[in-house]
């Protein structure tokens, strides 16, 4: 009988194993052309890097929102000290968490979190924006942003997962897993 129990437990564990392996296989490892960091891109998401007036940014675009007005995605931005308009990390976090009555913008407190071995800060922002921009019909929708700021010397990474508020809870775990997979280029 104990042998039967052992065999049944082993069979249960074996049955769970392919599912876990499948889950782990879903994300793909990604590094932008600049090779400044590595991360796991969730399955079905698309990544591309571009350069704007503020520097390099990588966008990981995921599924569309239920309303179809806003695509969930993760934006990873490298803020370098020599860039124009640079703010030190503490001031940048305060400004990001600032409120705005026009868009009903509010933010939670900043919490510490160790990401890629670095003591970082995470917080959440909510705001209301009119979507789809410049298109009819349009109405106001609430957006939610998970934000993580990872210092690297005097420069820092800003990682933001944006979605509509009606689905933001679905992406909480994904955001945490993503942060765990995030490694800067000089991570040891």
């Amino acid at each position: 009988m104990p042998i039967i129990k052992i065999i049944s437990i082993a069979a249960l564990l074996w049955g769970a194993r392919p599912a876990r392996a499948q889950e782990e296989a879903k994300a793909s490892r990604y590094a932008p052309p600049t090779r400044s960091f590595y991360c796991d891109v969730p399955s079905g998401w698309h990544a591309f890097e571009e350069e704007d007036a503020l520097g390099n940014v990588v966008h990981l675009l995921g599924p569309d929102s239920p309303s179809g007005n806003y695509r969930t995605g993760i934006d990873i931005r490298w803020v370098e000290k020599s860039q124009p308009g640079f703010r030190p990390v503490a001031k940048a976090i305060d400004e990001m968490r600032g409120s705005d009555p026009m868009t009903e913008r509010t933010a939670t407190g900043a919490r510490p979190m160790r990401i890629s071995g670095i003591l970082s800060r995470t917080f959440e922002i909510q705001e209301t924006r009119r979507l789809a921009p410049d298109s009819l019909p349009s109405l106001e929708e609430e957006l939610h942003h998970y934000v993580a700021v990872i210092p690297s010397g005097e420069s820092y990474y800003v990682i933001r997962l944006s979605s509509t508020r009606d689905v933001y809870l679905d992406y909480r775990k994904l955001f945490v897993d993503f942060l765990r997979s995030f490694k800067t280029a000089n991570f040891r």
Partner: protein, 675 residues
């Protein structure tokens, strides 16, 4: 004692002169022709390669400066003397000038290299160092090669480039006709391509990738595109300003890249600067085997690719445009908007917008119903039976507002279209709102968040946009028109980003003048403030919203123009399946746009659930009736390759836009929070 000196000594000896007298006549007869020959050779050398004389062959100012900078002297008698005091011959001069110019270029590049290594790199130049770089570039501009000038042109505005390009010598060191672009090969990575038909070799006829300074050239080998399938040539509308001589004349079809290059010097009016851009590149060597114009029927109309390029881009002075506006067939309101654009539009976009007006002469109307599902302005394209395209820009004077009260507190304001075509396309009934009717009677007018609004009996309202805001919307549509005509709307995302940034910078200028942003409606004001205070968030917001199912402007699979180039490269390998998949995805995206519009109406409470379901079924039926055309492998390859030029141009324009925005923020002190 050496023989020569002994002989000479012997001959010079007076006593020995007499030696020659009794010399046999035969020896004298043999020696004389040899002497004569030597003298003749010396004389011939002097005649064939005389000393250089500036009186006969004067130097240009550039050449004279180059020589004097390298310690060569030009004497009053016309001779040119090197630093060692030796006069130069005519045969020495071309090589010398080339060598000196090459040395000057090298010196300039070394200076730039030192400067850039000292700073954080070309992408992160502070203003002082940027000015120093520009100073070095200005001093050495005429000595640079064509490709170097193209690379560095990103440091200058179009206005600054105009005088620089004017001073170039007419026969600069490189003849454009002899220039050969490097051959780049679209190397297949997987198994051999699915078709084995004859393929023209990748001719280096098209210009090299246009890359401004901030964006590195993509390190992706791409084949030069075969001549794309060209839609029938568009006859440009007549313009009172400097129209090209062959305007309206249908030209025989030639390879698009040669057509682009050939159009540049001939069409530009004399004295006008032709700013460096992808469409103003010097003529490339002709393709050895220009392909025939293949019928476009092989591809469905939705995949019609680049039309023949229109007149090249040129800088338009304000006086010229004012003169054009005086006779232009536009109403007073529209002329006022165009004038604002001419005066205030950012430099990187102004030429594009004004060229679109002058060359394209779009019909510009103020009619919200024709704007369709666009909130502020829409670009409409009509094509007649002969394939000629005409453009209409429909501007909305103000939004149709509908307020839905919430159960307990407040209300939600929705913006709706009053275009019957929008609702018939969605298979939903036209909203029963007084404000949506053309002949609806307003109860009163009052100022509100959306401008001076007319209020109707059922609570619906019609707002009004300010003139400054409408100028920005019109600028945006003109830039989208330019993208369509110039062929760089291949990346719809790049075109939208370019237009939106120009619009925002125009609003920023108004904001700096008026010291407030009340001229914007609430939606644009929120976007503008986010651009002002949190530019990174604004840019990310654009990406997320443009890639949504409702808009479908940014294809998440393809990304920006550079990553789209890579996508095309991978798709080229798996033809024709890749084009079929792309076509299916595009159709699905278009269907998604309409479905999501219908869903939004349902969420607003303007549709019942049953009506939404019926609309969805009807939309699905519409798309089922769209028959997929057969796609051949060859047409698939042509399709992907034909997008390369447009994508490269889009990438270069985005880089230019990025620099312009950075510069504007620095100069206006608008570097707000980074995030």
């Amino acid at each position: 004692m050496p023989f020569a000196s002994r002989s000479l000594q012997y001959l010079l000896n007076k006593g020995q002169v007499g030696y020659l007298v009794p010399m046999p006549r035969v020896r004298a007869a043999i020696a004389a022709p040899g002497l004569l020959f030597c003298l003749a050779a010396a004389a011939w050398a002097i005649v064939a390669d005389p000393f250089y004389n500036t009186r006969l062959h004067p130097f240009t100012a550039l050449q004279a400066d180059l020589l004097s900078a390298n310690h060569f002297q030009i004497r009053p008698d016309g001779s040119v003397v090197n630093p060692d005091g030796q006069p130069l011959r005519e045969s020495d001069m071309p090589y010398l000038l080339t060598r000196l110019q090459s040395a000057q270029r090298l010196k300039a590049l070394l200076q730039l290299d030192i400067l850039l290594n000292r700073s954080g790199g070309e992408k992160r130049l502070p203003l002082a160092e940027k000015n120093e770089v520009k100073k070095i570039l200005r001093e050495n501009w005429p000595h640079f090669t064509w490709s170097m000038r193209k690379h560095f042109s990103g440091y200058f505005t179009l206005r600054e480039l105009e005088p620089l390009n004017k001073n170039l010598p007419p026969d600069h060191n490189e003849s454009p006709l002899t220039m050969k672009d490097p051959e780049i090969i679209f190397a297949p990575q997987a198994a051999e391509p699915p078709f084995t038909g004859p393929v023209a070799p990748p001719v280096a006829a098209a210009p090299a990738a246009v890359v401004a300074t901030a964006v590195p050239a993509p390190a992706i080998p791409l084949a030069e595109p075969k001549p794309p399938i060209s839609v029938a040539a568009v006859a440009p509308a007549p313009s009172p300003l400097a129209a090209p001589k062959d305007a309206g004349v249908l030209k025989p079809w030639i390879a698009a890249d040669v057509a682009v290059a050939a159009a540049v010097p001939a069409a530009a009016p004399p004295g006008a600067a032709v700013p460096v851009s992808a469409s103003t590149l010097p003529p490339a060597p002709p393709a050895p085997a220009p392909a025939k114009a293949e019928p476009a029927a092989a591809l469905p109309p939705s995949f019609a690719i680049l039309a023949a390029r229109e007149t090249p881009l040129r800088e338009i002075l304000r006086e010229e445009f004012d003169k054009f506006l005086a006779d232009a067939p536009y109403g007073r309101d529209v002329k006022a908007l165009l004038l604002l654009i001419s005066e205030k539009a950012p430099n990187f976009a102004r030429a594009h917008a004004l060229n679109a007006v002058i060359s394209g002469l779009p019909l510009i109307v103020v009619d919200s119903s024709r704007a369709g599902a666009s909130a502020r302005g829409a670009l409409l394209t009509q094509e007649n039976s002969s394939g000629e395209k005409s453009y209409t820009i429909a501007m909305s004077p103000g939004p149709l507002l509908y307020k839905r009260k919430s159960l307990f507190f407040g209300s939600a304001t929705m913006l709706l279209s009053d275009s019957p075509q929008v609702y018939s396309a969605l298979h939903v009934p036209f909203p029963k709102l007084e404000g949506a009717k053309r002949d609806g009677l307003a109860l009163k007018q009052q100022d509100g968040a959306w401008g001076q609004a007319r209020i109707y009996s059922d609570g619906s309202e019609r707002g009004s946009y300010s003139q400054q805001q409408q100028a920005g919307s019109l600028l945006r549509e003109l830039l989208l028109l330019d993208a369509k005509r110039q062929g760089w709307d291949v990346s719809a995302y790049a075109a939208e980003l370019f237009a939106a940034t120009a619009q925002t910078l125009l609003y920023a200028r108004f904001y700096l003048e008026l010291k407030n942003d009340r001229f914007l409606d609430p939606e644009l004001r929120a976007n503008f403030r986010q651009w002002l205070q949190r530019p990174a968030e604004y840019r990310d917001f654009l990406v997320h919203s443009l890639s949504s199912g409702r808009l479908g402007i940014l294809d998440a699979r393809k990304g920006g123009p550079e990553s789209q180039l890579q996508f095309n490269q991978e798709a080229w390998v798996s033809c024709p399946q890749s084009l079929a998949q792309d076509k299916s995805a595009a159709l699905a995206a278009q269907q998604d746009v309409l479905n999501k519009q219908a869903l939004s109406l349902w969420r607003m409470g303007l549709l019942e659930s049953k009506e939404l379901e019926e609309a969805r079924k009807a939309l699905q039926g519409d798309w089922l009736s769209v028959k997929a055309a057969d796609i051949s492998a060859e047409s698939c390859v042509k399709y992907w390759q034909s997008q390369s030029d447009g994508l490269k141009q889009a990438s270069a324009l985005l880089a230019q836009m990025t620099l312009a925005e950075q510069k504007f923020r620095e100069e206006a002190g608008l570097n707000g929070a980074n995030n």
